[in-house]
């Protein structure tokens, strides 16, 4: 195994774990409302931008991160209350919320471009620099990649544990199966839906910070590509499946990095989207998902 290949694999797994995190953020709201926030990418961008901005104002890094996360959590409430809920009440199919959340994302992106400028901003090194590495079996392993990998995987595991082991997690599961039944059973469905959007936004914020750390810079358009990779990961693994999101995320990360390394970095996107379209056309339920049986 040559070094180049190995470094690509590590990079692929590392960014793949972030894609998995994004995919799980999308899953969360998909469970509770069968909707996705198309503005998720903008939340990622905004969180990373805010961290850069707050840090540049002299705030300690940890505080800057908390500040960024608080803002995106609040925006998660906004998304649920003002884009998803009215669209679901007005019904008319999925068009409503696809359009409204997309619009919300565009607003955030536009505002960020207005106030922070559309130039890429350097993201500060939070834990390690790109030069830090450890050597394992004669291979240089970038510490940043390892930390990002460890963080995403542990977050995913924690979330999975939460859903499986806690009452609140079970309630989320119940709502995903039948929201009306959950409501008549007396579950605080509204609150849980709201919670899912806040959690989803927080995951987006974390994913944004991690991606910015790996990439080194952040700009207003930065989240959009990332969230598309997250979509691909979610669809590949099967929308709604946590394990699927992890597998899908790693697969997308690996494929895109290998294609980027050996063919062309420009082909990264095209391959990911081609994968998405092929997957949707051939097996919409994903590799690990089960087909939805709907009552006609």
């Amino acid at each position: 195994m040559d070094d180049f290949f190995f470094s690509l694999v590590l990079a692929g797994i590392s960014v793949g774990s972030v894609y998995a995190l994004i995919a799980i953020g999308l899953n969360l709201t998909f469970w509770t409302t069968r909707t996705l926030n198309f503005g998720q990418g903008s939340l990622m961008m905004l969180c990373a931008m805010l961290v850069v901005f707050l840090a540049s104002q002299g705030l300690a890094m940890a505080l800057a991160v908390i500040g960024g996360l608080l803002v995106v959590a609040a925006l998660g409430v906004f998304v649920e209350r003002f884009t998803i809920r009215p669209a679901l009440v007005a019904s008319g199919g999925s068009m409503g919320w696809v359009v409204s959340t997309l619009g919300f994302g565009i607003v955030l992106q536009g505002v960020a471009a207005k106030y922070f400028g559309s130039q890429a901003m350097a993201f500060p090194d939070v834990l390690f620099t790109t030069q830090d590495y450890v050597t394992v079996l004669g291979q240089h392993l970038s510490l940043q990649y390892l930390v990002v990998l460890a963080l995403s995987v542990s977050l995913i595991l924690l979330l999975e544990l939460f859903v499986r082991k806690t009452v609140w997690g079970q309630a989320v599961f119940a709502i995903s199966l039948d929201p009306e039944l959950a409501l008549v059973q007396g579950m605080p469905v509204r609150l849980i839906i709201l919670g899912s959007f806040v959690a989803s936004s927080l995951l987006a914020g974390v994913a944004g910070i991690l991606s910015a750390q790996i990439g080194g810079t952040v700009d207003p358009a930065f989240g959009f590509d990332l969230v598309l990779f997250g979509f691909v990961a979610a669809v590949l693994g099967g929308m709604g499946s946590s394990f699927g999101a992890l597998v899908g995320g790693l697969a997308v990360g690996l494929i895109s990095k290998l294609v980027g390394g050996y063919i062309s970095t420009a082909a990264e996107h095209a391959i990911a989207f081609a994968l998405l379209m092929a997957m949707l056309a051939l097996r919409p339920q994903g590799l690990l998902g089960r087909p939805e049986v709907s009552k006609a």
């Binding site: 007005a90 696809v98 471009a113 669809v235 996107h269």
Partner: protein
């Protein structure tokens, strides 16, 4: 207010108004400044482009977040053909539309399989892939450096069929093309094609049940939409003379979506107005251009909630979907109830036969070896407790589910597992427990959907509103008069479904099924939620169907309603047939009593010994 709106609607829809507007622009453009003429040309192109997304998203309900892809395919195709290969613009632009149509057709295959959020992602992916290809394919598209020097009005290098074309003349050409497009789209909207688009928009399942194939209809929508977007793109290329990938990235897809939504999805006039406004605003209003992107975002976030039907919904009466000329022709024809009577049956003895059908969902057995027979001129009731498999049986017969085992034959022909629209074409038609009509269509328009299968004229005939197409439509409209009279809906024929009470909707759905000229009809709880009077009316309609010789399957719970109506009864319980025979004997059958009242009531003693 509403009178003002009607007056405005009539004016906007009037041919004289269109003619005057086109003539004024055609002749007046020589007096306008070069800048204004250019913006007007942009506006016209935006109008064509917005019609494209209106067809796909507004009519057929298929959201597209990658429409700039089609636009770009048209632009690059025409630009490259004209510049690199020296093809005349009069040929290169139609070829561009054709290529984009082919792209739309191809996209319809993967896209036709998914919906909702998946479709949004897929179209987004399509747009992104196009953008990436343009950026990377340096040899052909010039990559990120762009593709300059396309013969264009702006560069004074444009000639069409050997005639030098300046900016004003190009405006006139585009104006005529746009006017033609609007006429064709208007005709299509008021034809079987536009109505079929709306039908699959509202419910693919309901569309299939009356013989409208969802797949083929979507393919047509994507193809037509691609063609229009490609046409707009081709015209754009020869307006600006320079093509760069950034012009065809996501913001353009967003922009056209904003135009379509603000104009009012489904409204042609609304699109025209909105495309014009959104072309002029950034040019004339500095503040708007500065905050353009944010404004688009805000509009998208709130428009569907605040103004779901767009400007058109605010200013104009809702559009109608039958050509007034067809309606006028129909008045001259005499409604004749005989046209509803099915001609002599095809093969076999004309009965619908369900033989040993089993339907499993995973581990759940919904139908277990069910056999029954529905004969022409007889009413067979299918009863059973909730969850006994009645609706599943109707879904299997009507082609929504493919049975796990067993056979279904009609008139001696095997129809097992055929797609739903083919089963409707075989003259087996069903209704639904919840009426699935197009809510913003009138009763008459909904009924005409039922006759969709019988309208055989081509799409071209529909787009050109040829007399033959109108005549065919008028024939069916005359048949609709007969059904309206039969179902007592004549008084509400021109009211939209969403304004009518539930019972009336049910009746309209039964009428729509009748218009599909069934020889066998499956009525899934048609009496649920009806008042006494409505139920009596329904019973009469069902008797009329029987007299016409239809084979009728009637699902219902009201034993009193069924008692003096039906000829045979089949009782299902937990997916099995537990009784077959007359209704009077059914009431005494121990198995039936057990199914309805519980085992204890009927077989308490048996339980004690078990």
């Amino acid at each position: 207010m509403s009178r003002l709106r009607s007056a405005l609607s009539r004016t906007v829809a009037h041919p004289a108004f269109h003619l005057a507007l086109v003539l004024a622009l055609l002749l007046g453009c020589r007096w306008l400044s070069a800048g204004t003429v250019q913006i007007l040309t942009f506006a016209l192109i935006a109008i064509i482009f917005s019609q494209s997304i209106n067809l796909l998203t507004g009519l057929a309900g298929q959201i597209s977040l990658g429409h700039a892809g089609f636009f770009g395919i048209g632009a690059y195709c025409s630009g490259i053909l004209a510049k690199t290969h020296g093809v005349d613009v009069a040929l290169s632009v139609p070829l561009a539309a054709l290529l984009a149509a082919a792209a739309g057709w191809l996209l319809s295959f993967p896209a036709g399989r998914v919906r909702d959020v998946y479709l949004a992602m897929m179209t987004l992916g399509f747009g992104m892939i196009f953008y990436e290809i343009v950026r990377e394919w340096n040899d052909v598209t010039g990559g990120t450096m762009g593709f300059p020097g396309v013969p264009s009005a702006a560069l004074h290098t444009l000639s069409i069929l050997g005639v030098r074309i300046d900016a004003a003349a190009y405006f006139q050409v585009v104006l005529l093309v746009a006017a033609l497009v609007l006429v064709l789209v208007r005709n299509l909207t008021q034809s079987r094609i536009g109505r079929a688009f709306f039908a699959i928009h509202v419910s693919e399942v309901a569309a299939g049940s009356i013989g409208i194939p969802a797949g083929a209809t979507k393919q047509l929508a994507y193809t037509l939409s691609g063609a229009l977007a490609g046409l707009a793109g081709g015209l754009y290329a020869h307006l600006v003379g320079y093509l760069g990938p950034e012009s065809f990235a996501l913001p353009r897809s967003i922009e056209v979506l904003v135009i379509a939504i603000v104009g009012g999805l489904g409204s042609i006039a609304g699109q025209v107005l909105s495309a014009t406004v959104f072309t002029f605003l950034p040019e004339r209003l500095q503040v708007f251009s500065e905050y353009q992107f944010i404004a688009y975002g805000v509009i998208l976030t709130f428009s569907l909630v605040v103004l779901p039907r767009g400007i058109a919904g605010l200013l104009l009466d809702p559009p109608r979907f039958i050509k007034p000329r067809a309606l006028r022709r129909a008045v001259a024809l005499r409604p004749d109830p005989a046209v509803l009577r099915p001609e002599a049956a095809g093969g076999g003895d004309g009965s619908l036969e369900v033989a040993s059908v089993t339907m499993r969902f995973g581990g759940l057995v919904a139908l277990d070896d069910v056999s029954l027979r529905i004969e022409p001129g007889r009413i067979t009731a299918l009863v059973g407790p909730n969850g006994s498999g009645k609706s599943t049986l109707v879904n299997v017969v009507s082609g929504l589910y493919r049975p796990s085992a067993g056979r279904i034959t009609f008139e001696g022909r095997d129809i097992t597992g055929l797609p739903d629209h083919r089963i409707a074409a075989a003259r087996v038609v069903r209704t639904f427990q919840d009426p699935r009509l197009v809510p913003h269509f009138t009763v008459r328009e909904n009924l005409l959907l039922g006759a969709h299968r019988l309208l055989r004229h081509t799409g071209a005939a529909a787009a050109l509103a040829l007399p033959s197409a109108l005549e065919e439509e008028a024939q069916q409209l005359a048949a609709i008069e007969a059904v309206l009279a039969l179902t007592n809906l004549t008084a509400v024929a021109d009211r939209t479904i969403s304004t009518l009470p539930y019972g009336t909707r049910r009746m309209a759905e039964v009428g729509r099924a009748l218009l599909a000229r069934p020889r066998a009809i499956l009525l899934d709880e048609p009496a649920a939620g009806l008042s006494e009077a409505e139920m009596e009316r329904l019973a009469q309609v069902i008797r009329d169907m029987k007299a016409m010789g239809l084979a009728i399957l009637l699902i219902d719970h009201h034993m009193d309603f069924l008692a003096d109506l039906v000829d045979d009864v089949v009782v299902l319980d937990s997916g099995r047939v537990i009784y077959r025979g007359g209704i009077a004997e059914m009431r005494r059958d121990p198995a039936v009593i057990a199914a309805y009242l519980g085992d204890e009531a009927a077989t308490a003693s048996e339980h004690a010994h078990a």
